[in-house]
């Protein structure tokens, strides 16, 4: 087993035994389910809206070259600097370069999972720049020096007590039991940072080809401040974020909010089409868009799983996943957690290193059913399992299978094995879950069913003779 799989297993063992954590996550998501259903039901037809969304993303991804070209030429025509980053290193180097060239002192950053993916904040800090995360949840997890727990709710695993203690010990705030006080404290800290920062970094939720704009979805207004006050704005955007037309947002903005957060619409949905234009009173003098590939094209080349690039990062599949709710977001060890993360991480970071995530599924299909753009998530987990085995056939498993087939084909051996099993089972409680237990993977957390005292053949024979 490789290091990633090992860490995953260890973390899973810890989290699944932590019943408090499990209750907490269930409680945190309970309100979401109610609200999501309420707003889904306001749609005249949610299934048709999903079909339309899937179709639009299919069109965008399957003509990606054309739409990216259109997006970039429209952006450049209005004074935006576009950088094509083939990998994470190129993206980091470019952004650090922009910060250096402008002798930037402090940087304010709004939430970006693409930024997390390339470890942008770390890279900037290592180059000597101060980076402040302005999204409240990101700010909290960054203070704790841990990655986001969930792609949409980064700090959902923490209680107000933990956050109050964190603010108290790190920032000297008064301890409080009130989420509003904690939020207002963070607001005051951040306000100063906004006014001082000379560079703002954001992600993007959509890239509109038709008009050359990025669209940012947020509730707090932190991204709007990040992109209004500093004199440079850098947006890091995955190449798969493209939508063909501006009017497509009429469908995607309500769906993203409803599927992802159980809201009818998110607080701010903002379109940026360039740096400050002539006649405008404010806005950055420079606007840079960093288009990131970072192996998205490898996923694109897999036609079977290409629809995984339709993902709008709403987080709905995490919220319904029984595995996510039990193992928790940090167990995955990936930027993108839950079903979508388990599907795309092997493509982005190596199949053999991350194939264990394909097993982190009950294959219940809840993710596929909830996905607003109809990504065939649980089937893709099966595809990844198949591909991993094809690329590197597991020898021990093959031998076990061959042995099983041999046994099933030879009646005498089958009978012998059944008899040994039946005779030896009373000893099993003694050996249970130890290295001598042949079914220890199962019995570590469950009891093994009792084998019948007599086989069917024996019962049959007895009945015939009596």
């Amino acid at each position: 087993m490789n290091a990633q799989a090992h860490e995953f297993k260890a973390s899973v063992r810890r989290y699944t035994a932590d019943l408090g954590h499990r209750d907490w996550i269930q409680k945190a998501l309970a309100g979401y389910y109610v609200k999501r259903d309420e707003f889904k039901n306001r749609f005249q037809s949610w299934p048709s809206a999903r079909n339309a969304a899937a179709e639009i993303k299919w069109e965008a991804i399957n003509h990606l070259d054309r739409y990216l070209d259109e997006f970039v030429s429209k952006l450049e025509a209005r004074g935006t600097k576009v950088f094509w980053a083939p990998d994470a290193q190129a993206a980091r180097d470019y952004i650090v370069g922009v910060a250096r060239a402008h002798k930037v002192r402090s940087i304010i950053k709004s939430k970006s999972m693409t930024g997390e993916e390339v470890h942008l904040a770390d890279a900037l800090e290592q180059s000597g720049f101060e980076v402040v995360e302005s999204d409240l949840g990101e700010y909290i997890v960054r203070l704790r020096r841990e990655p986001p727990y969930h792609i949409v709710f980064p700090a959902m695993h923490l209680t107000r007590k933990q956050i109050s203690d964190l603010f108290h010990s790190r920032l000297g705030s008064e301890p409080t039991n009130n989420p509003e006080d904690l939020t207002m404290f963070a607001r005051r800290v951040m306000r100063r940072k906004y006014c001082e920062a000379d560079m703002g970094i954001s992600g993007a939720n959509f890239a509109i080809a038709e008009t050359g704009m990025i669209s940012i979805t947020e509730n707090e207004g932190n991204a709007r401040l990040t992109t209004s006050l500093p004199k440079i704005h850098v947006a890091i955007v995955g190449i798969e974020k493209v939508l063909p037309k501006l009017s497509d947002l009429a469908l995607f903005l309500p769906m993203l909010a409803t599927a992802g957060a159980g809201q009818p619409i998110t607080g701010y949905n903002t379109l940026y089409g360039g740096p400050r234009q002539s006649g405008e009173p404010d806005g950055p003098e420079e606007f840079h868009v960093v288009l990131l590939d970072n192996r998205r094209t490898a996923l694109l080349a897999d036609a079977e799983q290409r629809d995984a690039l339709h993902c709008i990062r709403c987080g709905a599949c995490l919220n319904v996943c029984p595995i996510f709710k039990n193992v928790g977001g940090h167990s995955y060890g990936t930027t993108y957690q839950g079903p979508i993360g388990s599907v795309i991480t092997p493509h982005l970071r190596g199949l053999q290193d991350w194939k264990h995530l394909s097993q982190a599924s009950s294959l219940c299909g809840a993710c596929t059913e909830t996905c607003p753009v109809k990504i065939n998530l649980h089937h893709h987990l099966l595809h990844n399992r198949r591909n991993a085995v094809r690329a590197r056939p597991p020898r021990s498993e093959k031998m076990i299978q061959a042995g099983f087939v041999f046994m099933m084909r030879h009646l005498a051996i089958y009978r012998l094995a059944a008899r040994i099993g039946r005779t030896a089972q009373p000893l099993q409680p003694v050996l249970r879950a130890t290295i001598f237990d042949p079914v220890r993977a199962w019995t570590k957390t469950r009891s093994f069913p009792r084998l019948a005292k007599k086989s069917f053949r024996e019962l049959w024979r007895e009945r015939k003779t009596s």
Binding site: Y32, F43, Q44, A49, N51, A52, A54, I56, W58, E59, I61, N62, L68, D69, V72, F83, W84, P86, L136, F153, A155, R160, P179, T183, M184, R187, R191, C195, N219, E220, R224, L225, S228, P244, S247, A250, L251, L253, P254, A261, P264, I265, G267, Y268, T270, L271, Y272, G273, P275, R276, Q277, E280, P281, D282, G283, T297, L300, A303, E304, R306
Partner: protein, 234 residues
């Protein structure tokens, strides 16, 4: 080879194998041919599936008000400019406003004149510190969206980017005929208005700034305005 050529080359190589098309059975569109130009088949009228908005302007104004209030914004339909002025004066008295931020506009000018407070006008640039210390912001907008209760602002219609996000209370002055059924119609309106000369900034504002990052409990005024008031003129 430039980075652009590298990435576009990878994409073109990858797209040589066609991906299975999502099915259309639920739409009843399975009879349509599957061709290379699938875009033509993309439905252009999502109105059929999005939440209903009513037929008449009156219904849509009412729906806008309901949705805006659900989002914790305050909404008032006023009979004329004098009622708007009265209302803003009351907000000012209740909030103890001393200084407001605003831009020049058809409605903001007369309202600000009547208020008679210290002003920061953003039209020709401003100092961030000045705007940050304002108690409220007065702006106009591009459209009000009935379906979602959102206000669409743009750099020219709302005094730039920061005015509608920095002060703690945002007051929007709009005309009744700016109410549109959904986001699609709002976007269509700005597309027709600006053609290719889009402002660098447009935003759908839906309620005051909010967060649920601590225990998923709603708190207003996370970074932006704690209050949003929308006043409608005939």
């Amino acid at each position: 080879m430039t980075n652009r050529e590298i990435i576009l080359g990878r994409i073109r190589e990858a797209l040589k194998v066609a991906a299975p098309h999502p099915d259309f059975h639920e739409l009843g569109r399975a009879d349509l041919p599957v061709g290379p130009d699938a875009r033509q088949r993309v439905p252009t009228a999502p109105q059929k599936w999005l939440p209903p908005v009513g037929e008449t302007l009156a219904e849509q104004v009412e729906l806008f008000g309901r949705n805006a209030e659900d989002l914790k914004a305050e909404f008032h339909e006023c009979s004329g400019l004098s009622e708007v002025i009265q209302h803003v004066k009351k907000l000012s008295a209740d909030g103890g406003w001393k200084k407001i931020g605003r831009h020049r506009g058809e409605f903001t000018d007369p309202v600000a004149r009547e208020l008679g407070l210290t002003e920061v006008r953003t039209d020709k640039g401003y100092a961030v510190k000045d705007l940050e210390s304002c108690d409220a912001a007065l702006t106009e907008c591009e459209a009000l969206v009935a379906q979602t209760g959102s206000v669409l602002v743009s750099a020219p219609s709302a005094g730039g980017r920061a005015l509608s996000i920095l002060p703690p209370h945002h007051v929007v002055l709009a005309r009744r005929n700016q109410v549109v059924p959904d986001l699609g119609v709002a976007l269509q309106r700005v597309q027709e208005k600006f053609k290719d000369k889009f402002p660098s900034f447009m935003s759908f504002i839906s309620g005051p700034s909010r967060t649920g990052d601590i225990e998923r409990i709603l708190v207003l005024g996370a970074h932006g305005p704690k209050k949003l008031t929308i006043l409608l003129l005939p």
